[in-house]
Amino acid sequence: MSDFPTSAKVVVIGAGIVGNCLVGHLARLGWTDLVLLDKGPLPNPGGSTGHASNFIFPVDHNKEMALLGEQSANQYRDMNLSVDSGGIEVARTQERMDELQRRMTSAKAWGIEAHLLDPAQVKELVPFVNEDVILGGFYCPTVSVVDSLETGTVMRKEAIEKAGCQVFANTEVLDILTDDNPRPNGRRKVTGVVTDKGTIDAEYVVVACGVWSNQIAYMADTYIPLVPAVHQMADVGPLDVLAETNNEIGYPIVRDMDTFCYERQSAGSMEVGSYAHRPILHHPDEIPSNEEAALSPTEMPFTADDFDQQMEEAIELMDMLGDAEIKYAINGLLSLTPDAMPCLGELPDVENFWAASAVWVKEGPGMAQVVAEWMTHGYPRVIDSHGADVARFYDEEKSDEHIWARASEHFNKTYGIVHPAEQWDSRRHLVQAPFKSRQEALGAEFFQARVWERPQWYTSNADLVERYGLEERPVEWDNRWWNPITVGEHLNLRENCGLIDLSAFQIYELEGPGAVEFADYLAVNKIDVPVGRSVYTPWLNQDGGFHSDLTMMRMAEDRVRIVTGVFDGGRDEFWVRKHMPNDGSVTFTNLTKQISTLGLWGPNAPAVLGQLTDHNLSYEGSPYGSYRPVTIAGVECHLFRISYVGDTGWEVYMPWDEAGTVFDAIMEAGEDHGLRITGGGVYSLSGRIEKGYRLMGAELESEYNPVEAGLARPKVKAADFIGKEAYLAAREAGAEVQCVTLIVDDNVDSDGNERFMQGGNEPILTPDGERIVDSHGRVSRVTTAGYSPSLGKNLLMGYLPNALAVPGTKLQSMYMNELYSCTVVGSGAAFDPEDTRLKS
């Protein structure tokens, strides 16, 4: 028996699919001195992995989930612990049939074989299906069934053999040790783990604890936002037709999408699983120990009442289930996060304390690899993981109240039809701009960006619909979460001017003797510029891919302001804190809720603002990129000459408490200049897509570098910055792909209806309908899609290989499984490519 270690380089807590694969991947990346712990026994410690349904449906609309699912499926295949059983998502409603068209589109994008079947064809593959209750099915032959328990065992053994990983089962973590003194960067550092067998000093600690993860995080006074939730499953049998296959799985898995259930063969029985019951959430304290549990801690007693309706519906689809015995049924526990994405990455407030949680078996190996690479290289290489980054959460999202409300809301959407622009019902109006009451008075239709409410359009602008002769879109899906008012606001901005609420900007300041140098270390472009100048710049990771894309202002000799978007605030703040020097030469302040911002743009913007200030608003007095203090209506503001909508104007920064005064002053000044309050639909989408402006998280991701994105400046600064070496190499090598805009030539579908592309990730195809994949395996897909009011056309953005990126090239895009021809505009803007409006 080996003695219990007193120190280790890495302690991984949790030996489910993630923890096991993680030590395996760390070993492959050369890590040694690893310890793996679990409070349960091995090989099955009793977490969610132990009762998982173990199948992978690879098609997902979300890129991270789809690609990591596929990547994981291949890892399972490589280990020979996978069987391609095939799977069919059946539709009972027309609405679902439409969604299956969307599935086909995503399948095409990711290169996954898929077919649409009619009921008779479904029945051919699954003879015991009642074809009368379905309208069709989406069949994916590469749906696979895996042995997650054995996979974990194999990966764990690899870690033991390759890296001498020590493994301790039946060892419970009692506390996480951190040093008590936060540094200037506001972070503490993890120092070790206290277990019931002794304390281990550790340089890195990883939480791969599934449903217990948040509880472990609490031990370090931090959060991994997730909640244990029930997902019911029952094993019914014996069923002759299944037993006769003499196979663990001989028939394709069926997902009965409209009833939120699945039926998966398990030797001679059918496993029926459900996401249809009421959300049943549990506090981690309610999870029994391994000893107390009748089955296992995450196999909780079955509440039969909650399953009855699903039983009826399952019998409707497969009559034979009615006479099968219910041999095993559980309320199985899995982890739900507020936004249904996993929690991976370094915890923002605790250095070297990592999360690898809320991961399904279907992405287990892949996400373990993500975390291992992240720990090794500073950012994952296998895929851009911003959606799963645990640093993404704002404080309001970390409370149990928020987690429970959101988890309850999205649980029943696990097989749901979720619109790309769909808004949450629960937990709204958490954070609002200071002009909230004015916005409400103007009929704001609020959309939520993480925790911030932003008006998407205003009903007080309804008259613009008539003014510009606008119409609703003919197909309901395209019209959902959309209103022609937003087109009117866009046209009015381009004709007159618009005022847009930008209070959700995340604003930070770095101050101190080391502030500028540090700012230069983060950014590609030079920050050491004269006071009052701003710099639009990417921040790269060590491999030269995008981590952030934002603006930095030289406020003073030793003060730099950073302005980034609301969707990136969590990750960007973490990145700053992580890399900040701790010698006291730099301080970090978050000014987000102290500074409010409004955007004023349009041909009349200078005239409007001119009434409120004597400041020289010409290009000489207010040059593009300048950041100047100005008094408006007695309030000290800053004018930032920049435009993300392609018309001249400014971002106006003002103290939060006085923002209302400025708002009123501008609105009044604009009355005679056609100024309208304008929503995020223009700022985030129509304005930007007309100008081809790239967006972090859409066009800009870690998988692409600034050269490919067309954001590389002529020169590279002398100062060192994160990713400089990789960036220089990328410049040297040149880009094989370019970020471009395309125009959809004809948007009329086969029913004769005009369609309006949205959602993103649709494939861009050759005229022959083939996928376009570059030498790095990156597929050409729509990164942003939107309607251009100025051009009256749908626009798409994406990356194309140089040969196809030539303006005028004819290509195709798919939308809802139909092909539409499009033409490449090029890497510049589709509208006003010379930027005349900005220079006016």
Binding site: N290, I315, G322
Partner: protein, 253 residues
Amino acid sequence: MKILCCVKRVPAPGAKINVTADGQDVDAAHLGFTTSPHEECAVEGAVQLIEEHGGEVTVLTLGTGDAEEQLRYAVSVGATHGVLVEADTIQWDPQRTAQAITAAVQELEVDEPFDLIMFGNESADAGGFQVGIRTAMALGRPIVQGIKGVEIGDDTITARREIDGGFEVYKLPRPAVLGIKEGLNLPRYPTMKGRLASKKVELNSITASAAEGGQVRVKLHRPEETVSETVILGTGAEAAAAVVDVLDELGVL
């Protein structure tokens, strides 16, 4: 043929049972519930008998509304009727329990007696070993315990009871009562249809009143754990020699 099964709702624990802070009950916070194992076999046995002979099975339980779960479960595996004898708690002492059940049976036996009443030999939790016997004797019917085999003839019920190396045979006239032991059969699981049908069945309810008996529970507690060191003889096949040394020492080789 009319058969009555009397069942009890008990928690379904794992490898460790916890007691509530006040020591009065098993801490069932994280536990599921089930019908006590002997009685699960009784219900299966009764269902098999009516499948063979025709008739009805009534399942009765003394308990709170929660115990309806067990009645419905019994219906889902083939019982016909369910009767809840409603009490404020299921922890009545055995005399009181038997009294209440006897009164309930008498209420149910409007026209004619149940041909057979089946109890579990003892309940998995309290294990009083007497409720069936008291009830049978109050009803003036013969009862034998430990039964693992039942056959019903025209006038006689033949019951088998396992003893070391074989079994004893009892022959009781109808109507009779039996204390059943697990092993009578391997109970079936409910079918999906059975489960759905059980939801629609209307359960009867009888209010119970009975006097407290002479046995009073004070508290529950866990037996003292004798901590002993387990000697690890080795890992895997290489430990065989050490094992056989032990067997030799014990004289069982």
